[in-house]
């Protein structure tokens, strides 16, 4: 059985296991002895291909006057359908100085819906919303504000650094309503607020990938590994690492991926692919380059260490004098070319990242519309393999968080046993009109730690930051996702009825 996934679309989760759909395709292929093309309908995708776990979380908490958490209780119910669901721990990232004040209980509530699968930072998104909402609320009650209450309960200075940077970029210093929601609406009937939240993720790699880098007599350079396509990030850095080793432009290298016959690779998930794969590509390319240098050295009557690959040529490693072009060098190879394998090298990968985000929103008091004006994401990721791609991933994380913050919800009708909105008209994702100004920032103070996966942490804190910004704007504390106009209007009506901010 060979699985071919040349282009799968965005690989955002729910792909660790074969799944009932993959199993059906395999069985059909075995039975028919013919290739089977698996493509799900939108409804199948929503109902059987794996969804994020739900959660219902109740939090009680108390802080000292300076905002230090003194008591924290969490009751967590995971909703994972027929599966157990996921939750990443309580409290998420923040710590009590005295652990005696902490109590939490966690249980799974089983329903007859499909089992939740590992979907885009499983457990973290849910855990973030609970603690970030509670802490934010306490920050206003204690009068220390949204930024300081976070720092007060974080010992890791990386978070202090990242929160400060996010605060600076979002314009917190000049923000007029730091300690209470905006009192009066502006002329257009809107109020504006800022909110914060943080994230963490592993993203480390492990031994699993076997990569082969091959140089052909025709000058071709190929890196082959049986990892699956995940969008085009993997394809890009696999080729880039190989090309760099031979002093060639990116276009000169080809990444062959997406086929299980290409050899062993790790199961893509948990943002572990980059940290597992990139070191093995580097190792294979290094080995292949070494072999090619040794081959060329014989012909040139020099030592292999005297040769280097630079700017599309073979050059003297000291001085850089060009000896032959890449094409000429490759033409000296036998018909089989030259190739070498590579494996994971622990010293090339790191593990564990932070992240801080800030959101600025505008709430229209007449319609309940929440418009996200700006989001800032500060993210460490060890060594960025491709800065443009890392920034795009950060943007993507913030946009997905904005999307599920404002729109996304699987509506399950228990009476009829149906998902009511299993299509792209009624299950809404953010589009062009919802886009804020996005500021993706790589935390440069962290690049010495080797390669670490960073895609998932980027989606963890955005919805919490948006919820907190909504409160900071208009005083409505939304405790369930998504933050749709009906909930904002209901919240505003309740505030007015209680004599709160108008």
């Amino acid at each position: 059985m060979t699985t071919i996934v040349d282009y799968m679309g965005g690989g955002f989760g729910a792909k660790f296991g074969l799944g009932v759909e993959g199993q059906a395709a395999c069985e059909a292929a075995l039975e028919l002895k013919r290739p089977v093309h698996l493509m799900l309908t939108r409804e199948d995708e929503f109902l059987t291909a794996g969804n994020r776990s739900g959660a219902v979380i109740q939090v009680r908490a108390g802080v000292a006057k300076d905002g230090t958490l003194t008591a924290l209780q969490g009751e967590i119910q995971r909703l994972g359908g027929v599966g157990g669901g996921s939750f990443s721990g309580f409290p998420y990232i923040y710590k009590l100085r005295d652990e005696k004040g902490l109590h939490s209980s966690i249980r799974s509530v089983y329903t007859h819906f499909d089992a939740a699968r590992a979907m885009r930072a499983p457990g973290h998104v849910q855990a973030s919303f609970a603690i970030e909402s509670a802490l934010d609320e306490l920050g206003y009650l204690a009068g220390v504000g949204a930024l300081d209450i976070r720092k007060q309960n974080l010992t890791d200075q990386v978070y202090h650094r990242q929160l400060d940077r996010a605060a600076k970029e979002i314009g917190w210093e000049a923000h007029p309503n730091k300690l209470a929601p905006q009192e009066r609406p502006d002329a257009a009937g809107t109020k504006t607020g800022i909110g914060f939240a943080i994230s963490t993720w592993g993203g480390g790699g492990h031994e699993e990938c076997r990569v082969r880098v091959a140089v052909g007599r025709d000058g071709s350079l190929t890196a082959t590994v049986g990892t699956q396509d995940l969008g085009n990030g993997t394809r890009t850095y696999v080729a880039a690492i190989a090309a760099e080793e031979f002093g060639l432009p990116l276009e000169a290298a080809t990444a062959r991926i997406g086929n299980t016959s290409y050899g062993r690779a790790n199961a893509s998930g948990g943002s572990t692919t980059a940290a597992s794969l990139a070191p093995a590509v580097k190792d294979a390319a290094f080995n292949a380059a070494k072999a090619l240098r040794e081959h060329l050295a014989k012909g040139l009557g020099r030592g292999a260490a005297e040769l280097a690959f630079r700017g599309g040529s073979v050059v003297e490693s000291s001085g850089g004098k060009a000896l032959m072009t890449w094409k000429e060098a490759c033409a000296t190879l036998g018909s089989a070319g030259i190739s070498a394998d590579g494996e994971w090298r622990s010293e090339l990968a790191g593990n564990g990242v932070h992240g801080a985000q800030a959101a600025k929103v505008q709430v229209d008091l007449s319609t309940g519309r929440v418009r996200v004006l700006k989001m800032v994401g500060v993210q460490d990721c060890g060594l960025p393999l491709n800065r443009t791609a890392v920034e795009s991933q950060l943007n993507g994380g913030m946009i997905q968080a904005l999307s599920y913050a404002l729109h996304e919800e699987r509506v399950l009708e228990t009476g009829l046993g149906l998902m009511l909105n299993a299509n792209f008209v009624d299950y809404k994702i953010a589009g062009c009109q919802e886009m804020p100004e996005l500021v993706p920032l790589i935390d440069e103070e962290d690049i010495g730690r080797g390669v670490i996966g960073m895609a998932e942490p980027a989606i963890v804190p955005g919805h919490s930051a948006i919820a907190n910004a909504i409160f900071n704007a208009c005083g409505v504390r939304l405790r369930s996702l998504p933050f749709t106009p009906d909930k904002v209007l209901d919240g505003l009506a309740l505030l007015a009825a209680n004599g709160g901010a108008k």
Partner: protein, 207 residues
């Protein structure tokens, strides 16, 4: 060949399958229809399998389809070689991945009957490049990293090309309005609009 559209109700699927299996008579002749119409305007009737000619990216393509076959399905699964730029994602005219130009106007090809497109110019993302050279919009997408997984990209490129064709000075807001029916899951929007604005500047003559 994939089904024209998966059936959400299995029992109906089986029933209609049995019904349809009885016999598929080729009827109508869409190719000759225009001539017949000029001579004696009568009601045309199309059913079963019909051969039609589509004009795809300037090339005539003969395909055998049914009246229910969408333009998207005809392009991807009935043309040989297939035209796979337009993507099948939602199949309900709600995501934009299948966007093509029909007589220069962006439309969802999953929401057009192929038989309604005879004699009308169909331009897919493949047809925007001239002599193998990427168009200004396509080049800008590459330069600005305006794509991630790439499934929505053909639709965005087509929508933006049509918008800039009409008005190379289109503002960010106008471009966002033009692409309100195109959705991206990866979150490429910021760079899509950077690319579009850059392409607009280049199309106005400034390089």
């Amino acid at each position: 060949m994939p089904p024209e559209s998966p059936d959400p109700r299995q029992h109906v699927s089986r029933r209609s399958f049995l019904k349809g299996a009885g016999g598929v008579a080729a009827a109508g002749g869409a190719l000759g229809a225009a001539k017949a119409f000029a001579a004696a305007p009568t009601t045309e009737r199309l059913s079963g399998t019909v051969e039609i000619e589509l004009l795809v990216n300037g090339e005539p393509r003969k395909v055998k389809v049914e009246p229910r076959t969408t333009l998207l399905n005809a392009l991807r699964n009935h043309c040989e070689p297939p035209v796979t730029g337009p993507k099948l994602v939602c199949d309900r005219g709600s995501c934009g991945a299948c966007t093509v130009l029909l007589e220069g106007q962006p439309v969802y090809s999953c929401m057009q009957l192929a038989v309604d497109c005879t004699g009308r110019a169909v331009t897919t993302v493949e047809g925007l490049a001239v002599d193998g050279k990427l168009s200004t919009v396509q080049e800008a997408f590459v330069a600005h990293d305006a794509l991630m997984c790439g499934f929505c990209t053909p639709g965005f490129v087509v929508s933006i090309s049509a918008c800039l064709q009409k008005n190379p000075k289109a503002t960010r807001e106008e471009l966002q309005q033009a692409c309100s029916g195109n959705f991206c899951r990866c979150g490429t929007y910021p760079r899509v609009f950077e690319a579009a604005l850059d392409a607009g500047r280049k199309l106005q003559g400034g390089r």
